[in-house]
């Protein structure tokens, strides 16, 4: 009993220790890393991956995967940009764009739950479909001329109490989602589904409904991330968000969530997002080529999973 308690504490601490170790090493190598300006910059950089990874955590906790998030980001970005060009109020366009993300996610969920298809296959297919629709809608060209609404600019580029607004959005999303996961019945059902789907079903849990909800959350987070990106770029790019699913999955895994489902925490995902963000940020500061950055990121993922294996 005692040992198992120790191991659970240990397993929660490992990602955190890795994060602090990383911060110390990077600061020694280049003290300008801990400049407040750089930290704020870092927080803004990670907000998009953060939002997507938080949604992905729910999906992976049920033993699923969502490969379509990058395409959902691009499609919602294009659709909301289109609305703005057509004269829709920018704030309304942001709300609609985020909700459309939830709708695209819900479609994934319906196909997975009601169609009884594997999440990998379904989201692989919708990844292409949503990307294709984005290209069709944009004609393959960026959508620009979104106007100069102050609120819209603020959403991607502004500051609130000195903190970048995207980072504030990410932190708010984290608080809401962590509350749902750890304090609400819905979160308990999410873990139950990942731990033993059959037992969850037999226990009278509406498994299909929970799954659809979970993929909707993932899609909604991708949509929200899409809105931030649209504001930051002041345009919609048809190729935006490509391979974003990979960084999100990597963050979830580094954060200690098991791909088999049932085990993990959203706080771990936050740490994973920070680790990936700091790696990118620091290697830029240190002038390491982006080619090497990819290699390092891959190695970090492997180490994270290896440590996870050792623990269990």
């Amino acid at each position: 009993m005692k040992t198992s308690k120790l191991t659970t504490i240990w397993s929660k601490l490992v990602p955190l220790l890795a994060l602090f170790g990383l911060i110390v090493v990077v600061t020694i190598l280049n003290p300008s890393f801990i400049d407040p300006a750089n930290i704020m910059n870092l927080l803004r950089q990670i907000s998009i991956n953060g939002l997507i990874a938080f949604g992905m955590t729910f999906v992976i906790l049920t033993g699923g995967i969502d490969l379509s998030v990058g395409s959902i980001l691009a499609l919602t970005s294009a659709l909301s940009a289109g609305m703005m060009v057509a004269g829709v109020d920018p704030i309304l366009a942001i709300v609609i764009g985020t909700l459309l993300g939830a709708v695209f996610g819900a479609l994934n969920g319906v196909l997975i739950a009601k169609g009884k298809m594997a999440p990998f296959i379904v989201t692989l297919a919708t990844m292409t479909i949503y990307r294709g629709l984005t290209l069709v809608y944009t004609g393959g060209k960026p959508i620009t001329g979104l106007g100069d609404s102050y609120a819209f600019q603020l959403f991607g580029k502004g500051y609130f109490l000195g903190i970048p607004v995207p980072a504030v959005t990410m932190i708010l999303a984290f608080i809401v989602l962590a509350f749902m996961l750890h304090k609400m019945a819905f979160g308990r059902k999410t873990y139950a589904l990942g731990g033993n789907e059959k037992a969850a079903l037999v226990s009278g849990i509406k498994v299909d409904r929970v799954k659809i909800m979970i993929y909707s959350i993932s899609g909604m987070m991708a949509g929200l991330a899409g809105m931030i990106l649209t504001s930051r770029l002041n345009s919609a790019q048809p190729t935006a968000g490509q391979a974003y699913e990979m960084d999100a999955i990597a963050a979830v895994v580094i954060g200690g969530t098991s791909l088999a489902g049932g085990k993990g925490r959203i706080a771990g995902t936050f740490i994973g997002v920070l680790i990936i963000g700091i790696l990118n940020n620091a290697m830029n500061l240190l002038g390491i080529s982006s080619f090497y950055q990819q290699v390092v990121k891959g190695v970090v993922i492997l180490i994270a999973v290896l440590l996870d294996r050792k623990r269990s």
């Binding site: 609400m184 019945a185 308990r188 139950a192 033993n196 059959k198 079903l201 037999v202 849990i205």
Partner: protein, 493 residues
Amino acid sequence: MRIVMENIHKAFGANKVLQGVDFTLEPGETHALMGENGAGKSTLMNILTGLFPQNQGKITIDGKETAFTNAKEAEEAGLAFIRQELNIWPQMTVLENLFIGREKRNALGVLKEKEMKKQAEAIFKRMNISIPLNKEAGECSVGEQQMIEIAKALMLDAEVIIMDEPTSALTDREIEMLFQIMKELTSGGVSLVYISHRMEEIFEICDRITVMRDGVSVATSYIKETSFDEIVKQMVGRELEDRYPERNPTYGETIMEVNGLTKEDVFADISFSIRKGEILGISGLMGAGRTEIMRSIFGIDSFDQGEIKIDGKAISIKTPASAAKQGLAFITEDRKEEGLVLDFSIRENIGLTNLESFSPNGVVKGNDEKQFVKMMIERLKVKTESQETQAVNLSGGNQQKVVIAKWVGTAPKVLIMDEPTRGIDVGAKREIYHLMNELTDRGIAIIMVSSDLPEVLGMSDRILVIHEGKISGELARKEATQEKIMTFATGGN
């Protein structure tokens, strides 16, 4: 082969599992190993077969001190362990299963099919069984799969075969066949260790019995010189009252009616009703469709025709969620596969069926839940230090109590229990029987599916017998006997 295990001790961390066990196995004998769940039977056999070492004590085989360092060594020395969870690759053929990991091949690595077939046929002939070698193992019955495991052991020239609960999933006919094979093996000098909870079988097939309790071997006796009561006494360390508590049911009005329930090729025209406070036993052979009927009633599987009425009103049940809403509860036969989320704590497992009541607005009220779970743990006498203990760390009996607690907590109108006491010890069984009485006293109706005939006879007020998907007979408690049930179950009348 003569095995002597002396004063074996084993601890996992602070948890002392074995604290001085003596066990001897003579050549050609069938030796029963019995004890409540958690008594240390499996640990003892795992030490013998080299899965892990003992902390203290010694093992001698044919007079020579031995310590296997892994399972393979034990296997090569002639010790085979057939576990409760069979080691079968369902997509591979019987022949491929028999030779898995030891395929015969020529210098180029090509398989020698003919030679393997010949050897397999010879073994099957020795066991006096016939299973087509090219049949997929997954298509075989559990009984046949067990035969495959035994054949595998024999091909390794096993002199000692340990069987853990071999009959828990077998039909009576298959059990008979297994016993026949066991007798042939022992007459050929093979020794068998037979781990089981089924007293009747032990008295039928075994020569000696060793009873374990709390990590100690209590006694070893010759079957001929001991008795059922004696063994139970040794096992629980106290006199047990009657095996089944007395039932004094008072019935209310009819609570549930099932009319003409039919699912093509599975079951047909199932009609019955049950009153408040009644225990309806469902008997029949393995594969007769008992479990399937219950799964359809509870909305896990669909059905083609028929209706279900609760309180006289026809209801539609499409999912377990809707069944639970209508006041049904279902304790599945497989607690690990479908009953529990093993990584969840006791609290989370019991909470799962009651989430809605703890979270009226979606937010779980932690204190309400803890209070409730505490009450359920006390009521069902779940043995645990804390409600945060993970379900996976509980013994079988305690796991079953948690599954029951999940559903009793929902205050159901009709509780369906599928094999409620399979694989759990005598003490826990009795507690479950008492609980069933307590529930029916409060007006809950219980449908109990069971393969354990004495249990069906001991606890049911009325018994339905299922044969090939149809109700073949109904017996009142007073007129029911094992013989009558078996007659109906095998299709006679």
